[in-house]
Each structure stands twice: as C-alpha cells, then as structure tokens.
C-alpha cells in the first residue's frame, strides 16, 4: 500500500494520522533512516497535507490542486523552509540558520520561523542532511527546537540518532523509517525504467539494501562491473599493490572533474569494500550471507581468512577512509594508504 505515491512507510503514515486525530502534533521531529528511502519526500508530502487549503489535517490527503499544494510541490511555498547541505560543503553553513554576519538573526531559518505564517496556518521547516550539522549549527538550533514559535513544525532528516547531539535528541520526537522492502524496490526500479530485464531488476533490488539511492547507483553498468572487479581483487589482496591503488584512482577520476562528484564516487567505492569485508566477516563466523550472485561467487573464491579480528579491522579501515574523504583528504594518498593498510591487515590472515 502506498500513501500519496510514497511506498513502504505505511506505519509512519499511520502514526501521523493518529497524532493528528488526537490533536497532539508536536513541533519538532527527527526523521531517521538510511539514505534513499523517501524521508524527504515524506516530509514534503506531510508539509503539503498540513498546508492544503481544501482538506483537513487529519485526513492526510492533500488535494494537489489548490495553490498551496502546488506551491509546496514546486518548492516555492512561503511557509515551507527547506534547508539542505550545499553540494560543495561538508556541513550545513551557520548562515543558513542565523544569517550572515551583517544580518545576524535578521535572516536565516531561525528568524524566518519566528515570523507569522503567510498563509495563516503554520510554518514548516525541513532540515535535510541533519547528519551534517556541525557543532555551531546544531547549537544555534537548540533554542528554536525547544520552544518553537506558535504553529510551527520543524523536521530534521538524518540517518541515525547517534549522529545528533544529545541536546538535539532530547528535544525531538523521533520517527524511524525502515529500509524499503525488496519488492517495493523492484517495482520502483522497473516502473522508472532504471532496469530493462527482469534479472537486472532482481539483482538491483538485492543490491539496494532497501535504498533507492543505491539501486540507482548500481544501475550504472560500469559501477556494477567495477564492483565485481574490486571485490575480486580485494579477495586476493595480501601484498602492497600500487597498481591496484592506481586503478581505483582512475575509476574515481572517471566520475568527473568536480571534487564533490569524485568524493561521492570514492565514498561509494569504499562502501563497496566495507560491504565486502562485512560479508567476509559473516562468512568467517559461519553466519548466513545475504547478497547477490557476484558477492557469493567472490566470497567462495576468496580464501577463508583465519583471523576475524583482522577482517573486522578491515571493515573499520574502510569506514574510517569514508570519513577521511569527508575531511578532505588528498584522494591519491588516501587510496594508497587505504589499500596498503588493507594489505597489511590481510597479510596476517593468510593461512
């Protein structure tokens, strides 16, 4: 069942319906869930239904025709503030919330929220990428989150509770979004023309881990090919290999000239590697492995590592490397160090 074109989150819809029926709509929410499962779409839809001029709040059924609905859809509604991390920044800038130095507290989200709603009903702020709030940004939201102006609703969207400050967590109502079921992904993938054949659809659905974002990424044939190659080579990685590092670097460079695009690509590559080691760890402990054929084949071929600690360290190394990408580490050095460390770690595991 879907709600207004949003698939797989019926439980959350039900929750909001109850909240609105009971008239207990709190003013601050934190939406939590993996990327690419529709949290932002949900937040926008919720905003639309709360601002719709023709239907009541608790119906949660925006008409889609009234000016209000259309403005929300076009993301030009004066009462909806949508904030996200700029592509070229590694966090949401402070100016977004409290205005720049000349217009401190006379601009920005916190100021806008304090104004009376234009349409007279309520003001809604959606803060996407709340994972990327830095100390200053998060702190300057605290007072607004604690006692928001009357008739306002603030929605933060992030991937996990642990990534938020305890002071933010304590002020929010937490709403958890589950990964999309494989079936839903399969339907969406084929409906949107991302995959052509049925086999392709199924492969993407298993690979996606319930995230549309991942499904779309892996739909690129070159990435799927690289993934297979990367995992095969990781399986044989026991010695330092400059060639390997160069190949990874070349693949990342192929993404484009802009640094943000390359960084995204590198994070994706590191994610694939982390996944590989994660499943290697599962195989090592004798736990069942869920994955597509490619992964199963590679795992079968890679020698069973003797030392689970080393494999665990490899997983952590990959995740660390992902953070280092965010910290603007030099790409070539990062890749080389990463591969070197992996090789050193895996060296000890060879029988």
């Amino acid at each position: 069942m879907s709600w207004q074109g949003i698939e797989g989150h019926d439980q959350v819809v039900e929750r909001f319906r109850r909240i609105l029926t009971g008239g207990r709509l709190a003013s601050t929410f934190l939406f939590i869930g993996p990327g690419g499962i529709g949290k932002r779409a949900f937040a926008l839809k919720l905003a639309q239904s709360l601002l719709c001029e023709r239907s009541a709040d608790e119906a949660l059924a925006p008409c889609g025709d009234c000016p209000s609905c259309q403005q929300v859809v076009a993301q030009s509604h004066p009462d909806v503030e949508l904030v996200a991390k700029p592509k070229d920044k590694s966090f949401i800038p402070l100016e977004t919330f409290i205005g720049d130095r000349e217009h401190r507290m006379r601009e920005g989200l916190c100021h806008n929220m304090a104004l009376k709603p234009h349409g007279g009903r309520r003001k809604i702020a959606i803060i996407d990428d709340a994972d990327y709030l830095n100390q200053e940004g998060a702190n300057c939201l605290l007072k607004t989150l604690e006692e928001p102006p009357p008739n306002s609703l603030i929605i933060l969207i992030g991937t996990s509770e642990q990534r938020q400050l305890p002071t933010i967590r304590s002020r929010c109502q937490i709403v958890r979004f589950k990964p999309l079921p494989v079936k839903v992904i399969a339907t969406l993938v084929s409906a949107n023309g991302i995959s052509q054949t049925r086999g392709e659809t199924e492969a993407l659905a298993t690979l996606s881990d319930g995230s549309m974002e991942r499904a779309v990424q892996f739909a690129e044939p070159e990435l799927a090919e690289f993934r297979q190659e990367l995992m095969t080579r990781l399986g044989k990685l026991f010695e330092r290999s400059t060639g390997f590092a160069a190949d990874v670097g070349a693949f990342v460079d192929a993404a484009g000239k802009d640094a943000p695009i390359r960084r995204e690509r590198l994070k994706l590559v590191l994610g694939i590697a982390a996944d590989y080691y994660r499943w290697l760890l599962h195989a090592r402990t004798g736990h069942e492995v869920h994955g597509d054929e490619v992964l199963a084949r590679v795992l079968q071929q890679s020698p069973v590592a003797r030392d689970a600690d080393a494999v665990a360290a490899c997983v952590e190394r990959c995740l660390d490397a992902q953070q280092q990408v965010d910290a603007n580490a030099n790409q070539a050095t990062l890749i080389e160090c990463w591969i070197d460390d992996l090789a050193n770690l895996m060296q000890g595991t060879r029988a």
Binding site: R15, C110, R171, D275
Partner: protein
C-alpha cells in the same frame, strides 16, 4: 487557524522551586540566598540536557522580579511572572548564546546593561547555551560581569562548562545540576499521565524513566511520542515499538551468545532484532548499558545501582557476569563504546555493531590470563586454569595453554625468567638445555648464527661473543671497523631473530647486548685479554682520584698503562 498544541515537556515545565524535581540542593541554596537578601549578580547553571537549568533560571528570574517582592515562591499570576514564563518579558532577556555568539552581539548587550529596567526590580539576562560564545565575546563580557550595575543579574546556562573560560567561571556562582533519579522521573511521568487522562502500565513508565538516563526532558519527549501513539493505554510493547529498543529478553540472549563466543548466533540475533523494528544504534546503547550493569554487579553493587536492569533480572545478570569475569567485561565495554563513538561519525551503524560483536567473540578469557600471571608471579607450581576456557580458535599467543609445561624448570630460576616472558620459556622447556659458560659461548654463538637464514647471519658473523654480563645475558662485541654491522644487528627485528636462534640452541631465553671494541685492542687481543683489560679500565674509572681528574679536565681515558712502581700516577691523560 488550528488550535496550537504544546508539547508535554513545555507544558509541564516547573514554575516554582517546589515543582523542580531532583534539584533540591540548588533550590534550597537559591531560596536561602533570596530570603537572606544575598543574591549574587552572576550565576552559572551547568548539567546534562533536560535536568532543569533553563527552568531554574526562569524561576529565579520570576522570584526576583515578582510583584510580591523578591520571594522564594513567586505568585505566577502577576503580569511579570506570566511574561517571564512565556519568555517575552521586557526586563528578563532570554538570549540564545549559540545564535548570538559573536563579539558584536555582546557589545550590544553591554551598551544596554546601563539602562534601568522598565518596570521590574532587576534586569535579568539569561544566556542559554552560553558555551557557544566565542572567546572574544566572553572577554568582552568580563568587566561587566565583574561589576555590573546594581539592577543587573546574569544567569548562564550550559551543558558544557569546560568550554567556558576560567576568567568567566571565577566571576560566577556555579551550580551543578545533578542527573534526575529514575524514581523521581517515574513519579513525574505518572503525574503527567494522570493529568493527560491516559492509562499506563507501571513497567512501561519505568522503562521510559530508565531510558531517559537522568534527563527529565528526554523522558517527557519519549512520553510525548507514546501519548500521541497510544490512545487508551500505554503498554510495554508500545514502548519498545516506539523507541526502537529491544526487549530485555533479547538483550540477555544476545549477551549469552557473546559470552559463549558464538559470533554467528550474535549476528543472527541482530538480524532478528532489526526485522522486529529495533534500531541498531539503540541496540548498541542498550548492550553497553547491559554490560555496564554487569560490571557493576560483578564488583559488588546491589540492584539499586542498576541503570537498565530490573530487580528481577539482577541475580541472573550477576551470575552471568561472574562467569565472564571483570577483565573481559571491561574489554567488552571498551569495544562497545568505541563502536558507538564511531556511529557518531559513520552512517554504517549496523556494520559497526556487527564488527563490535565479532570482536567481542574474539576476546580471550582475560581473567584466566591474569590469574595465570598472578600464579606465575607467586611462583606456585599449580598452573592449571581454574575454569575451562570457552571454545576458541587459539591463534593468539596469549592463550594460557603452554603455561602448565613450565613447572619442570627449577623454581629459583623460573621466578626471574618467567616474569620476563612466560610463553617463550614454556616453549623452550620442551627442548634440551645448554648452559652458557665462558667455555661454550663461542660454539653456541656459531651454532646460533648458522641457524639464521637471512642477512642477519652475514652481519652477525663479524662479531664475537665476549662476555656473559648476567645469567643468560650475552655481550657481543664488534671490532670498530665493523660498526655498521653492529648497528644493523641492533635493529629490534634483527636482534629478536638472533635471540630466537640463541634460544633454539640453548633452550633458554637469552638477551643480547652489542658493543664496539676500542680500536687498538681490537686487532691485538683476542677474547680473553680484552675482557680483562676492559674490566681493569672500569675499575680505574671508579678510582676517586681518576674520577676527579676526569671531571676537572673534562678528560677521558684513552690509554691504560700498568704502573710499575707508584700507583695511579700516570694512568690518565687529559685532552
């Protein structure tokens, strides 16, 4: 326009000192200060989130400015009290320190400080989240803070007092707000539930109170979610479903899997938990709490100090903890804590928890290890581990298995050697032993070198073992022209290899020291005379007169000549 709903945490904000839960020491101190007319001009309230800092600041503001005079029980009805409570009083300025953190904002504040209050007794500045002020802003405030006009009071609130400069701290009266006890939170929650007209299971509220970990606002935010979700009755299942936490049974079974070192089992527990809707991050935090309680139980705390475990589960937890051992529990806590720290940075929450669990399953039984070490130190002959060790791969050197072999060696020797390296000793005791004496040292050295396969042997060949400085301690000397080879052999990995080879030959742990022989003796003398010469020289150096001569002239001994008639007259020469 829809009727506005205000969340529980705001509606039930305490409005007087009596309402304030769990901060009796603060309310008493402030009350006494007001009654004896000794109210300070700057207060700093610190404490974790949601323990009542901002609320106390507002109550204090009301108490000072209420129309019924400075009083410990503000009326709450006068215009001033009401406008303070809603946060928009003209004379009580509540400032968000995080958004107004720069020096410009503070300068503006300073310029307004001298203006008298418009209608009340005092002008009160409440700066919340004050830790976010910049250093310059703090410094700009210092003079005002030290000697403000009589009509001004400052109240700072923060969760992070470490970030506040010491110069500001010394000008404020500081009040540390303690975390609120679970029992007090529970009582408050019951009151709220009753007032809201919703029925609730006692246990459900207990879980909420414990989950809040000392923060009243956390507990009320959680309750808010439940109130909006459950229309008639709040049950335990609702709580877990809403919080994304695991039932305590799930935690216990997970912990027992970990204690049995069953990694595959633990991983499937995660899988099941996730399919039931448990949030992995919450699960990690719960596991941390579980093992924290276990730690407390092992060291002898009673069930009152448990943060997460109910009284009925306490004895089971303590038994489980005692079989796991304190050292291992501490290691488990460390692994979980590291993993949760990483979760703050990385979105791969589940992978991180899985890695942590596998790591835990790889832990050796650390308590057995420390027992074995204690026994070795005590020199007792009985070295059998007291408990059967759980199934392990046994790949690490720290496993206690080889230890029982060592009692064969003589007790007197064993004491010193075992302290140095127990595993090595126990391995070697299987082999034949050869004593190192001045007579055998040469052949032992040659035999050892012949066993080394790589380049180390080539370098070591240039050396001679010349002395035994202590039992099983060999001094190996190089001629001065071979300094390079000596340096090479001194590298830790080379040295270890040589020591290994020596151990294989002698059957004992042997330490090696390297030194370079002085030039003129190297070519002339062989092992024996060199030894005696060097010893003589050391003896001479100890002579008080020679010592003094060396000190005065900053000299060094270059040559040593045997005196014929008089003693030590010409044995040294200065530079």
């Amino acid at each position: 326009m829809t009727k506005e709903y205000v969340v529980v945490a705001r509606r039930y904000r305490p409005q007087s000192f009596e309402d304030l839960v769990g901060q009796s020491q603060v309310s008493t101190a402030l009350g006494n200060a007001i009654e004896s007319n000794r109210v300070g001009h700057a207060y700093l309230f610190t404490g974790a989130r949601g323990v009542g800092k901002t609320s106390t600041a507002r109550i204090l503001a009301k108490a000072l400015n209420c129309q019924t005079g400075p009083t410990t029980s503000p009326c709450g009805e006068c215009d001033i009290c009401q406008s303070v409570a809603s946060g928009d009083d003209v004379d009580v300025l509540e400032i968000d320190g995080a958004s107004n953190r720069g020096i410009d904002e503070i300068r503006q504040l300073r310029s307004n400080v001298n203006i008298r209050p418009s209608r009340a007794r005092f002008k009160i500045y409440i700066i919340d989240e004050v830790h976010m002020l910049t250093t310059q802003a703090f410094n700009a405030l210092l003079k005002t803070l030290e000697e403000p006009p009589a009509h001004v009071k400052f109240i700072f609130c923060t969760t992070d007092p470490e970030k506040i400069p010491i110069t500001v701290l010394s000008r404020c009266q500081r009040f540390d707000f303690a975390p609120v006890e679970a029992a007090s939170i529970l009582e408050r929650l019951k009151l709220i539930v009753d007032t809201e007209g919703v029925a609730a299971d006692e246990e459900a509220l207990q879980i909420l109170a414990r989950r809040a970990a000392g923060s009243m606002r956390d507990s009320q935010s959680l309750l808010e979610q439940l109130l909006s979700f459950c229309s008639e009755r709040i049950t335990v299942d609702d709580v877990h479903a809403m919080l994304g936490t695991a039932q305590s049974g799930r935690l216990t079974s997970m912990a027992s899997r970990l204690m049995a070192r069953d990694a595959a089992g633990a991983l499937s527990e995660i899988e099941q938990a996730v399919s039931e809707g448990v949030d992995v991050g919450q699960l990690a935090e719960q596991l941390l709490g579980h093992f924290r309680d276990m730690m407390a139980a092992i060291v002898g705390c009673d069930s009152e100090t448990m943060l997460q475990t109910t009284a009925s589960e306490f004895s089971g937890l303590r038994d489980a903890g005692q079989s796991l051992g304190i050292e291992t529990t501490l290691a488990v806590l460390q692994i979980l804590d590291q993993s949760i720290t990483r979760m703050r940075q990385s979105p791969h929450t589940r992978t991180l928890l899985e890695v942590a669990l596998v790591r835990i399953c790889q832990l050796d039984a650390l308590d057995e290890l420390s027992e074995v070490i204690a026994q070795l130190r005590g020199g007792s002959g009985n070295l059998t581990p007291t408990k059967a060790s759980p199934a392990r791969t046994g790949s690490t050197a720290s496993s206690p298995q080889p230890a029982p072999a060592s009692p064969a060696t003589k007790p007197a020797e064993k004491k010193t050697e075992n302290l140095a390296s127990p595993p090595a000793e126990s391995v070697s005791s299987h082999m034949s032993r050869r004593e190192i004496t001045p007579g055998t040292v040469g052949s032992i050295w040659k035999q050892a070198i012949s066993q080394i396969e790589d380049m180390t042997a080539d370098h070591a060949r240039y050396a001679d073992p010349t002395a035994i400085s202590a039992p099983n301690r060999l001094v190996v000397s190089f001629k001065s022209s071979y300094t390079l080879h000596k340096e090479f052999c001194e590298r830790p990995e080379r040295k270890a290899r040589i020591e290994e080879a020596l151990q294989a030959v002698t059957g004992q742990t042997v330490r090696v020291d390297f030194e370079v022989l002085p030039e003129e003796q190297g070519s002339a003398a062989r092992a024996k005379p060199v030894l005696s010469q060097r010893e003589r020289r050391r003896e001479r150096e100890k002579h008080p007169m020679v010592k003094e001569a060396i000190e005065i002239f900053e000299a060094e001994i270059t040559r040593l000549e045997e005196p014929r008639r008089s003693e030590s007259s010409d044995s040294e020469s200065g530079e």
